[in-house]
Symmetry: C2
Subunit: 189 residues, 2 copies
DNA sequence: GTCTATAGACGGATAGAC
DNA sequence: GTCTATCCGTCTATAGAC
């Protein structure tokens, strides 16, 4: 291990992220106070404000990565020719993204309402919903009938929603991932 | 229309329910204050406390009905012989329940985290999650493999989750209901 | 049934010492 | 980087007049 610039004295920042993500997903974003997060870590509220500008900033620190991944997938899909193979490849990558960040997706699913008001404040407008719509368009084409569009949306949603529900009772994530992909593929056909 | 006991002077109680359900679903349960609800109705906070014991009580006033419906479905399913026909009938009734109370289900989906902490407080333990598990058991039988169980859960979840997403852009609810039922049936087969 | 007024608690955020 | 102390806002809920 080499020095990469100045090493942080402690890893408080990442510990905050971990605890916050846990508590936000468990109890909800609004209900979890900074005092509670600080107490769990054995520090004070003020210490958190050294690492993050605000409570919202903590959320962005772990959602931005995953939104970027979704954007990457969308950009890639736009360059591909429409067709069954592209659809399947999209779903494969999407499932990979979800399973690569289950904790974050769980947090989002558990705090839909809070996320909406959070996202509508920023200039960037990092809308979860608009990305979903875009992906549905890419999966179906712009003028697809309602039935096709609904099924595409269901394929995407069921990946994250379903694995949230059964996640705790599963020993082998890889098996679940395979099941989710098969399911999503079936739905869109 | 006949008299049913003492007629209320005003319909404030039901107007509170309607506005609260709207705001809770839009902005989230925690973020919506009683002051805001009261303002929209042109009354004061204190007036709300004449009709409801607490903020939580407002929620229970419109979720209890729908939990009772789910319990009814579960009780009925327990008396039926396992098989494809029972499965299909279960899904049909479930879809009916969801579409019969879309606003309530939307509220639940949007406030998963808040609902969990709300429900775990009461003695009744009106758990959304445990009902889902029970329904999955009834759909699959108790010892079904993971793949079967995941797909049953997905069938149930995709009904509510999906129609939340596309609801606003749909003119004909009946058409959507048919699509949802077809989808749920496909998934479990 | 609805009001005014207020209690009592807790939230996010900041200032400044060390 | 972390602390103590504090500001100021908002919230749920209640008491008591009308």
């Amino acid at each position: 291990m080499q020095h990469t610039g100045v090493a942080p004295r402690t890893d408080t920042r990442s510990r905050v992220q971990k605890v916050a993500l846990e508590l936000f997903a468990e109890q909800g974003y609004e209900k979890t106070s900074l005092r509670e997060i600080a107490e769990r870590l054995g520090v004070t509220k003020a210490a958190l404000y050294y690492h993050f500008r605000s409570k919202e900033d903590i959320v962005h620190s772990f959602t931005d990565d995953h939104y970027a991944r979704l954007d990457g997938l969308i950009d890639w899909a736009k360059t591909q020719p429409p067709g069954e193979q592209t659809r399947h490849e999209m779903l494969t990558r999407y499932v990979g993204i979800v399973f690569g960040g289950v904790e974050v997706f769980r947090f989002i699913e558990q705090n839909r309402a809070a996320m909406q008001t959070l996202e509508s404040k920023g200039d960037r407008m990092a809308r979860f919903r608009s990305r979903l719509d875009t992906m549905v368009d890419l999966l179906t084409g712009p003028d697809a009938p309602l039935r096709t569009r609904v099924r595409a949306a269901a394929a995407l949603i069921s990946v994250s929603a379903t694995c949230m529900v059964v996640w705790d009772s599963v020993h082998d994530p890889a098996e679940l991932q395979a099941i989710a992909l098969e399911l999503a593929t079936d739905i869109t056909d």
